[in-house]
């Protein structure tokens, strides 16, 4: 059984540093990780500017990206996210990985013209995502 070992040893050694960094990269900086993204819209695009006077632009933001096992702890997500990842990877791939969702929001102030011609200033809760987590 020495042949395969010898043939393995004869293979040109790829610089380990490159392989090693590639290997760790998948853990240290997983690609398109779960994070907050901007989405700036103006109410004129929705043709609502005839009744929403302010703000002119609105950025509700959204969460997008993967929730790899290694990064589970990074978002303040519950330990359950880690467990779900392990189930997905080792027991049953039909169980999905945790999802990347907003963890906290900030309110939005809106100035609107009402159907009867009156003008209203209102502050609405939970209109802008401010942080993401894996759930």
């Amino acid at each position: 059984g020495q042949e395969p070992v010898i043939s393995e040893l004869r293979k040109p050694l790829v610089p380990a540093s490159r392989n090693l960094s590639e290997y760790f990269k998948q853990f240290l900086f997983p690609q398109n990780e779960c994070e907050l993204h901007d989405f700036r819209l103006s109410f004129s695009q929705l043709k609502w500017d005839n009744w929403i006077v302010a703000p002119r632009r609105y950025n509700p933001r959204y969460c997008k990206g993967d929730c790899p096992r290694a990064a589970g702890h990074r978002y303040g997500s519950a330990a359950h996210a880690l467990v779900q990842n392990i189930i997905h990877e080792t027991l049953d791939p039909s169980v999905p990985r945790p999802s990347c969702v907003p963890a906290s929001y900030s309110p939005l102030s809106v100035l609107t013209v009402e159907p009867d011609g009156s003008v209203a200033y209102k502050e609405y809760e939970d209109m802008i995502a401010t942080r993401c987590t894996c759930r």
Partner: protein
């Protein structure tokens, strides 16, 4: 056996009724939002712009509300944390009907008194009145060196059904204001909270007549500079209501978890507060668990 069979039938029919009951009471009659709670923003977010055509607001009123918006929120629409007030809703109503009673008198600054009708249908049951103000837009081309003193006689009338005025003399109160004129548009706010507080919650229409008189405090000879008191009223006053929307969708800057103080509870809200000890308990638990950590 006859009696027991009868009782069993009665019980069965009662049960059937009970099962039928809850659905009919929950099903909305017109298929729309039964509680009327959803503010227009959410209605549009949920079922698209559509909707009936809108009446256009008075341009000066809109200008005032835009200034208010800039004072309360950033350009991106985030409520400024520096503001100390407790209202999360401000509604401005222009009078939907106005009958002039007595003409004004520009030389002495008596403004034309008028009969004003405000339609408050947009105020929802969850919006509690904190303050109400009559807003006059004054355009004045003359700057005065001396202060101006104004008196306002307000008569609030019973809703049309009774057709008679509220008992007692017209509500009148005087307020002193130092008006610095010179800007194109100037607003005068007359606080009418004590008068409207009992009405806003119960009435959807408020009918009032307002008599507004302003005179200069020093009665010295008018110099060439102080030409007669040209106080031309640009428009009948608007009514502004500062409200606290208690629904879940509205932002409550005083929320215990935000650390600010809770507003003074009105008598009728104490019971509601007792009904929701959860907020207090949750905040207490948070404090205890934080201390324990």
């Amino acid at each position: 056996s006859q009696a027991s069979r009868g009782e069993a039938q009665i019980a069965a029919s009662a049960e059937l009724e009970f099962e039928a009951e809850p659905w009919s009471s929950l099903q909305p009659v017109d298929g729309k939002d039964p509680s009327g709670l959803l503010p227009p923003l959410f209605k549009v977010l949920s079922d698209g712009p559509g909707g009936a055509p809108r009446l256009q607001p008075d341009s000066r009123a809109l200008l005032y509300m835009k200034k208010l918006y800039k004072a309360y929120a950033t350009k991106e629409g985030i409520p400024k944390s520096s503001r100390s007030h407790l209202y999360n809703t401000v509604r401005l109503f222009s009078p939907c009907a106005q009958h002039k009673q007595a003409p004004g008198h520009q030389a002495t600054g008596i403004l034309p008194s008028a009969d004003l009708l405000f339609n408050l249908d947009r105020v929802t049951a969850v919006e509690h009145l904190l303050k109400s103000v009559l807003l006059y837009t004054i355009n004045n081309s003359v700057s005065f060196s001396s202060a101006v003193k104004c008196a306002c006689d307000l008569l609030i009338k019973e809703p049309k059904s009774s057709g008679k005025n509220l008992p007692g003399a017209p509500h009148s109160f005087t307020f002193n204001s130092q008006f610095e004129f010179g800007k194109k548009h100037k607003w005068i706010e007359v606080d009418v909270t004590p008068l409207l507080q009992p009405l806003v919650a119960s009435n959807k229409k408020i009918d009032m007549s307002v008599n507004f008189t302003c005179t200069r405090e020093q009665q010295r000879q008018p110099s060439a500079r102080d030409s007669p008191f040209h106080m031309a009223l640009l428009a009948p006053p608007s009514l502004i209501l500062y409200l606290n929307d208690t629904s879940a969708q509205a932002h409550h800057s005083w929320h215990p978890l935000h650390g600010a103080r809770r507003p003074a509870q009105g008598p009728d809200q104490k019971s509601k507060l007792a009904a929701y000890p959860v907020g207090e308990e949750a905040a207490e638990d948070a404090r205890i668990s934080r201390r324990r950590r």
